[in-house]
């Protein structure tokens, strides 16, 4: 991130102006993932796609598999090898509760089973009007990340569904049939356009229908939903899905310049706000910190990882963060 550069530039420039690329992490630079940000560039080059195939997704609460895959995954409910235990959470199958452990520790624990099963990856891309901001836009960054995650999943022969959703438009994209399906998915992601209002709860309904069973649902949004940032995640979690959040903000939103006395107009609702003559940016940063802290608290309670990225963040940095939060791992499971 380059917050100092955003603060120095005029507010209008900060909203959409080009940015310096973020620093890349050394291990992944060698993998060719440190491509500079270009809003017009293809979402995913074939080379990058093949490199991403070396990674694999991690689902913390694995959904039930319908057919066998080549991947050994951790899941609840099926298989014979218990490889771990963890705390019980609403939505878990009660048959997996480890009663001997309960007798010893007086805590509800569920057994984590090892099994070979394909993963259902469901990508929820927020296409509301607010996602059109930034350079590249938040939506472009979301599409790029979604494409990368799809490439990881295709490499592991996982099943992928993507839903692009706002209050005005909804699109369902699937990547089945190997590289051809991946090409179709990339084409669909490339054509996404921002419009309408953010409604993550409604989007969660759509992704549930599209996933066709329990899945790893990844929500890509700026999380600025007036109805509640965690509304969609909670809805998905209550249906037994594994959920991960990727919050995408522009540098302007993360570290705004001095906007004292400005009149702000909401891109989605048209609401007008007048800012105080001093201290507006500082107060905003405090509000953002409180907003994120509230999200983190809820995410912890639901065992949901959150990945926060900027629109100007390069892909290797994002992958590095994903590895860090445990969303993906290097190499496929044997």
């Amino acid at each position: 991130m380059s917050s100092s550069a955003a603060s120095a530039a005029p507010p209008e420039a900060a909203l959409s102006g080009p940015r310096e690329p973020a620093s890349t992490s050394a291990p992944l630079a060698s993998a060719g993932l440190d491509s500079p940000i270009d809003g017009e560039a293809p979402l995913l080059s074939p080379e990058l796609q093949s490199r991403l195939a070396r990674l694999s997704m991690i689902a913390r609460r694995l959904p039930e598999a319908r057919r066998r895959g080549r991947r050994r995954i951790r899941r609840l409910g099926r298989g014979t090898d218990a490889i771990d235990t963890r705390g019980y959470a609403p939505g878990d199958d009660p048959r997996l509760i480890a009663w001997p452990a309960y007798a010893r520790f007086e805590r509800l624990l569920v057994r984590v089973m090892a099994d070979e099963a394909p993963l259902r990856l469901a990508l929820l891309i927020d296409t509301s009007a607010s996602m059109g901001f930034g350079s590249p836009s938040k939506l472009r960054q979301a599409a790029r990340i979604a494409a990368g995650l799809a490439a990881v999943a295709v490499g592991a022969e996982d099943r992928i569904a993507a839903v692009a959703c706002s209050s005005e438009a909804r699109a369902l994209l699937r990547a089945s049939g190997g590289q051809k399906g991946m090409a179709r998915l990339l084409h669909g992601l490339d054509g996404l356009r921002p419009s309408g209002d953010t409604d993550l709860r409604a989007a969660s309904e759509a992704i549930t229908a599209a996933a066709g069973g329990r899945a790893l649902c990844v929500i890509l949004s700026d999380m600025l939903d007036p109805r509640g940032a965690m509304g969609g995640a909670k809805a998905l979690r209550s249906r037994g899905h594994d959920v991960a959040l990727i919050e995408i903000l522009t540098p302007f939103e993360e570290d705004p310049p001095a906007l004292d006395g400005y009149e702000l107009e909401d891109e989605e609702s048209g609401e007008l706000l007048e800012l105080p003559p001093s201290g507006a940016a500082e107060a905003y940063r405090e509000a953002l910190a409180a907003h994120r802290a509230a999200m983190d608290a809820q995410a912890r309670a639901l065992d949901i990882p959150i990945l926060r990225v900027s629109t100007e963040e390069v892909f290797d940095s994002i992958v590095g963060k994903a590895l860090q939060v445990g969303m993906i791992r290097a190499g496929a499971r044997a």
Partner: protein, 562 residues
């Protein structure tokens, strides 16, 4: 509308910089952001969209302009336009106007208050109450305080209204005024005096009573019965009138200081009067009669439902001693002594040739000597009176003539010994030098007759009750005997007994029955006051300005207007 300080209107020029400040004030720089969700806690004002914000600003400008205008105009002290006219209100205060606010008098008072708010500073107002006699309450004046005090003194009276007399009285008070508007406020009820004639400046406003059913006391009296069984027994006479077009039922209660004494049901025919007589023993001085409807029909007037009677103890009457011609001081001496022996404390002596002075109810006159044929307007004892000049129609006895033939020998032909007048009166062995006999009318009662004529007779009713005794004080030696003061006491008791009837103050029957004036009125109807402001114009404008500025300040504080 006139202004006391019109020069202050120049301050309206201040509105120009106010409007300019709104139109040309520095606009905030505007920026479109993806979402204002996190900025909301920072913002000092919010608007749903631009149209709402523009509307709010326009309303704020309008409120500011109106508030400034109202303050400036209030400072100029506006008042309703003055027509320099004198407005006279003649208010019917007869009993049927009632006392309560929703009764005709209360509504008339409210009408005058409304009219006072609409008069200009140069206008003058006169208020006259039209009762049995006109009563001047205030004006012509423009002093609001005096007029308000006059309105507070405006109360109904227990009687009828003579509106014609009140209008004439008001016109006499307005003789020096140029532009006059005379407004008669009444309930349309029957009035005393002549009917009203339309004139150029006379208008009327009728406030009819919303309820036309009324029951009320028209008579409450007490008297000593003819044959009392005890000294404190009295006969109470009560009359109740009804205005209803249907028969009514009511209960009459007699109370002493709130303690029930008697209660009686009475039926009153439609638009008529019913009477009731009750004999009760009571030594109380004050008795209250109350009439209450028992048929559930509402009652229009409250003032006629209660009457209070003062029962004064029977004391010897005050005597007016009227001397005619030829009365000697010696004769008066004997009469005075006899009156004193009968308990009389107050004797008013004057010549019978002078006009009769003021007499109170219960007073008695004693006439002596030769008098004109004019009867005093009160019960009278004539002692050997002869008439000078032609006989008058109102004089109770006619042609007293001297009985000269009886000199030296008294011949008593007859005496009605059981009459209260002759009780204790013994004429045996009385030497009579001079006596006068009369020819009483057929309704008179002959009590003593001598040879040659009747010397003691009594007649008349009420205040016209009379006794004629044909023996002048010095015409016999009766004055030297005990029988003379006894006779005088009997006579006083007989005459004053008629005035021992005590009457309570009650409303006239026409007022109780809410009788309306026959036929439609020829007077034009007074219009409603043109303007009804809850406050004086300057205060009202200042209050509006304060309200608007307060609202604007509140909206600014809440961030609705920036």
């Amino acid at each position: 509308m006139t202004l006391a300080q019109p020069i202050l209107l120049l301050a309206l020029g201040l509105l120009i910089p106010i409007v300019a400040a709104f139109l040309f004030r520095r606009r905030s720089q505007r920026l479109r952001v993806p979402s204002t969700l996190l900025w909301q806690k920072v913002a000092v004002s919010r608007a749903r969209d631009r149209r709402v914000k523009n509307l709010r600003r326009l309303l704020a400008l309008l409120a500011c302009v109106v508030a400034a205008w109202a303050l400036i105009v209030a400072a100029a002290r506006p008042s309703p336009a003055s027509s320099q006219e004198t407005l006279a209100f003649v208010v019917d205060v007869s009993a049927s106007m009632g006392r309560l606010e929703d009764e005709p008098l209360g509504r008339a008072r409210a009408h005058i208050r409304d009219a006072l708010r609409s008069v200009g500073p140069g206008d003058r107002v006169l208020i006259v109450a039209a009762g049995e006699r006109p009563r001047h309450l205030a004006g012509p004046t423009s002093e609001a305080v005096l007029l308000e005090r006059a309105l507070e003194r405006l109360e109904s009276e227990p009687g009828r209204a003579d509106r014609q007399a009140a209008l004439r009285f008001a016109e006499s008070l307005l003789s020096n005024e140029r532009a006059i508007r005379l407004v008669l406020l009444h309930d349309g009820g029957e009035a005393a005096g002549a009917s009203l004639e339309p004139s150029g400046h006379l208008e009327e406003r009728v406030f009819e009573s919303p309820i036309r059913d009324n029951l009320g006391l028209t008579l409450f009296a007490a008297r000593a019965p003819e044959d009392p069984r005890s000294e404190d027994e009295r006969e109470f006479l009560i009359a109740v009138a009804s205005s209803s077009p249907r028969p009514r039922r009511a209960r009459i209660r007699l109370e002493i200081s709130g303690i029930p004494l008697a209660s009686e049901e009475i039926a009153i025919p439609a638009r008529a009067q019913a009477e009731l007589a009750l004999r009760l023993r009571s030594d109380s001085e004050t008795i209250t009669a109350i009439v209450e409807p028992t048929d559930g029909i509402p009652d229009a007037l409250e003032a006629d439902d209660r009457a209070q009677l003062e029962l004064l103890p029977l004391a010897p009457p005050r005597v007016h001693l009227l001397r005619g011609e030829g009365v000697s001081e010696a004769g008066l001496f004997f009469v005075r002594n006899a009156l004193s022996a009968a308990g009389v404390r107050e004797i008013k002596e004057r010549s019978a040739l002078e006009p009769m002075g003021r007499a109170e109810p219960g007073d008695v006159a004693i006439v002596l000597g030769e008098v004109p044929a004019l009867a005093p307007p009160l019960p009278t004892l004539y002692l050997g009176v002869t008439i000078r000049g032609a006989e008058g129609a109102g004089f109770p006895v006619s042609d007293p003539r001297a009985l000269s033939a009886i000199r030296g020998e008294t011949v008593l032909r007859s005496i009605e010994a059981h009459h209260s007048l002759t009780r204790g009166l013994d004429l045996d062995a009385v030497t009579i030098d001079a006596a006068f006999a009369i020819e009483p009318s057929s309704e008179a009662r002959e009590l003593i007759a001598l040879d040659g004529g009747i010397v003691l007779a009594a007649g008349g009713v009420g205040r016209r009750r009379w006794i004629y005794f044909g023996l002048p004080p010095l015409g016999s030696d009766l004055v030297l005997r005990v029988a003379y003061p006894v006779f005088i006491a009997n006579a006083l008791s007989h005459l004053a007994g008629s005035s021992s009837v005590r009457l309570a103050e009650t409303l006239p029957r026409a007022e109780v029955q809410l009788r309306l004036e026959p036929g439609p009125s020829a007077l034009p109807e007074a219009a409603e006051p043109p303007l009804r402001l809850p406050l004086a114009p300057p205060f009202l404008l200042a209050a509006i300005a304060a309200l608007l500025l307060g609202l604007e300040g509140f909206a600014w504080y809440r961030g609705a207007v920036r």
